[in-house]
């Protein structure tokens, strides 16, 4: 599944432009402590978080993520959106909680070869 397909399938709202939407999602990761994400998030993942601070963009670039999803309907800071557009990191907004969206992504086969 790529980022655009994820957006359409789960009804996510785009906070950033069209860059990076064709990127393939190779796994998922959840968390809000950026130091921990920097250390452990897998390459090519979609990252589910409530943290909307601009530092999430640098973390996503560092870990070469496919996309960031802000859960619980949280909106990113303005500066975050500007930086994400600059870096080509898609940021999407989900009304779901991280728990709910992660469950649905996993069931749909994201980071879960058994489901496919």
């Amino acid at each position: 599944m790529n980022v655009r397909e994820m957006r359409e399938r789960f009804g996510l709202q785009a906070a950033t432009g069209d860059k990076g939407l064709e990127r393939e999602i190779r796994g998922g990761y959840c968390g809000d402590l950026l130091s921990e994400i920097m250390a452990n998030a897998p390459q090519g993942c979609v990252w589910l978080t409530v943290q909307g601070h601009q530092n999430i963009v640098a973390v996503a670039v560092l870990r070469e993520m496919a996309a960031v999803v802000l859960t619980g309907g949280r909106a990113p800071d303005e500066e975050t959106v500007r930086k994400a557009d600059q870096e080509g990191i898609p940021i999407l907004i989900a009304a779901h909680s991280a728990y709910e969206l992660a469950g649905r992504l996993h069931a749909a086969g994201v980071g879960n070869p058994d489901a496919a």
């Binding site: 402590l33 950026l34 130091s35 601070h53 640098a58 973390v59 800071d77």
Partner: protein, 252 residues
Amino acid sequence: MTVAEHSGLRTFKADLHLHTCLSPCGDWEMSPRDLILRCREAGLELIAVCDHNSAENAAAAMRAGQRTGLAVLPGMEVCTREEVHILALFEELDQALAMQAFVYAGLPGENQPEVFGYQVVANEDNEVVSENPRLLIGATQHSLEQVVHRTHALGGLSISAHVDRPANGIINQLGFIPPDLALDGVEVSYRVPLAQARQRFPMIGARACITSSDAHFLKEIGRAATTFRMAAASLREVGRALRAEQGRGVLS
């Protein structure tokens, strides 16, 4: 006479991060009066009262400080929506109360004293004035950048608290210190000797660095303090020392 003495500069031992009984995790023994007396015994010459998201005990501490000749700055330890703790330090009470109004406007929830602890507003004679009903232990809905910006707009100094700590320290919370964040300095906890701070936490970079006790109990007062070289025990002078202006600075 040294150059420093000639220019009217001397050293001041300061602790710019102390809680009172207003903080839910602070003990009642930390009444503004007893806190001041203990700070005097510890040889401190300048302190700042920084309760969680509130400055309601700052006035009593300032009055108690005046009685004993200890300079007290009003401040608070604001929890931003990223759950980063930032010290907002001011010269005058009205600046701190304006900051408090800003913080309260974005601070949801009510305290449950039996769960989080009592939040006692006291006067300088150790009398209970009221209990603060707000959820002071919570996070505000203001961003880090908004808190720093408002602190500066009100004439205050903005210092990122206990950057070495896993709980609510900026490095753990946000992975690194945002390079364009207009901090006046960073603080390390008593666990890190100030002389080792930059080496152990390279992300501090060239920012001014202080250490404080972050005391919630009387016995914790004095476990860390910062020695400034400056002209007077005032916020303005702390700012000049953080910027290393005209012979001022953070010594140890």
